[in-house]
Amino acid sequence: SSLKQQNCERLQTAKDEDEDVADPIDDREIFDLIRSINDPEHPLSLEELNVVEQVRVRVDDQENTVGVEFTPTIPHCSMATLIGLSIKVKLLRSLPERFKIDVHITPGMHTSEDAVNKQLADKERVAAALENSQLLEVVNQCLISNARTS
């Protein structure tokens, strides 16, 4: 798949420059957190593979909710749960505790969509999975940030 072009530059606003105003977290900020996550199998980022897109990120700073839809590269992708887990972990580690984070597959884009979504939504399963050192290591590998720009 082709490399994505750099997203348009963020416009600097007067509000951005005012240090005293607490910036609400927006879709772009969430996207910036997840765009560089590595695919577990290919030497490409989730953004480069079109697995994550800014339009599929929904943040409501007032309601403390974040929703991310991700699109597996193929409908039978066996890495779908792992990719979803990496996105979830990245956001759990990066965002303030007040946020409720929902990560699910873009509707219609995976054969086991419901099963994968249910696993990702179950915080007990996620917590137990992350206590498995081998799985945790695989997730951490996906989350290693690269120096390269994308």
């Binding site: 505790e97 007040r98 409720k100 249910k118 939504a121 179950d122 915080k123 007990e124 399963r125 917590a127 137990a128 206590e131």
Partner: protein, 335 residues
């Protein structure tokens, strides 16, 4: 809503980790809590505050998910993601690990003592429910008497009937199962379908005639045992859903507790809220109705995982959260 829930104390119980569960001992003098830090803490009241009396750090290799006091109050069982269940014996302020129950293939999600004190039930992500018998002669000896595989997915919680030897479990498969002993073997006698997502918690009403369940589908369901069609002796028991509480919870309902003293129903929710429901007096016993009596929208700053009524003091309630905190509340009904 004339009724109120007032915060009495709030304290950090499990530093930098989740507090998954909290349980009063039968006398109501102690609180046991457990969490993602793999520890169990025992808390005792000192005037207006709660002090940590005991820290049990080395019992488990992974998260401790639930703890349960024996009916006599002398033993504590802990269920862990490390696939084991530990039985602890209380010796003054200290606890000694008596034995470790092994057998489940992966995370143990719950442990519960039968009111008789002779039986223990555990359940796991391995889809099974295990029933263990305590040896009367030897307190170190626990024998597994039954392994039941009625669920098709992780079993999240098990609870015993208050007076009969009857067990209920709930699961990631969206169902509730009810078990009875038949010829020295435990079997599933009824499967309660109706929830549209994982069922996280269960609680019997004080008489044991009804069961309440709570779910990821954001509802609470009340189930009542009824005569099976045909009414023959020896047929499977039948349970019917007689009430559904929907539209009250914004996210997953993780726990539910029916007060043995007042009959009030409390819930712990993933929207950070604690809610108390009261049964309407005038309703038909086969069609009960519940109203929201009190609601604390931000009981904690994160998900509420557990809620438990004090066994002796009416209105006293404890909750715990993903933020590691325990909160003690006083519920007062205006009417």
């Amino acid at each position: 809503m004339n009724d109120t829930v007032a915060l009495l104390q709030k304290f950090n119980a499990h530093p930098d980790s989740r507090c998954w569960y909290v349980a009063w001992n039968p006398k109501g003098t102690l609180l046991a809590s457990c969490g993602g830090d793999r520890a169990i803490r025992i808390w005792g009241r000192e005037g207006d505050s709660w002090e940590c009396k005991t820290l049990l750090q080395d019992g488990h290799q992974r998260t401790v998910r639930k703890v349960a006091w024996s009916p006599c109050g002398n033993y504590l069982a802990s269920a862990s993601f490390d696939a084991t269940t530990c039985i602890w014996k209380k010796k003054n302020d200290d606890f000694e690990c008596l034995t470790v129950l092994e057998g489940h293939e992966n995370e143990v999600k719950c442990v519960a003592w039968a009111p008789s004190g002779n039986l223990l039930a555990t359940c796991s992500r391995d889809k099974s429910v295990w029933i263990w018998e305590v040896d009367e002669e030897n307190e170190n000896e626990y024998e597994c008497v039954s392994v039941v595989n009625s669920h098709t997915q992780d079993v999240k919680h098990v609870v015993w009937h208050p007076t009969q030897e009857l067990l209920a479990s709930c699961s990631y498969d969206n169902n509730v199962c009810v078990y009875k002993e038949e010829d020295d073997d435990w079997e599933c006698r009824a499967t309660l379908e109706g929830h549209t997502s994982t069922v996280w918690g269960l609680t019997f009403d004080p008489s044991g005639q009804r069961l309440a369940s709570c779910s990821d589908d954001c509802t609470v369901k009340i189930w009542k045992e009824c005569q099976p069609e045909g009414g023959q002796e020896g047929t499977d028991v039948a349970w019917k859903c007689v009430c559904t509480l929907s539209g009250f919870h914004g996210r997953t309902v993780y726990d539910i507790a029916w007060c043995p003293l007042t009959g009030a129903l409390a819930t712990a929710c993933g929207d950070d809220g604690v809610r108390v429901f009261k049964e309407d007096e005038t309703a038909d016993p086969d069609q009960p109705a519940f109203s929201l009596s009190a609601h604390v929208p931000k009981a904690h700053t994160q998900d509420v995982n557990c809620i438990a009524w004090h066994p002796k003091e009416a209105g006293l309630l404890v909750s715990c959260s993903d933020n590691g905190e325990i909160a003690v509340w006083n519920y007062q009904s205006g009417v």
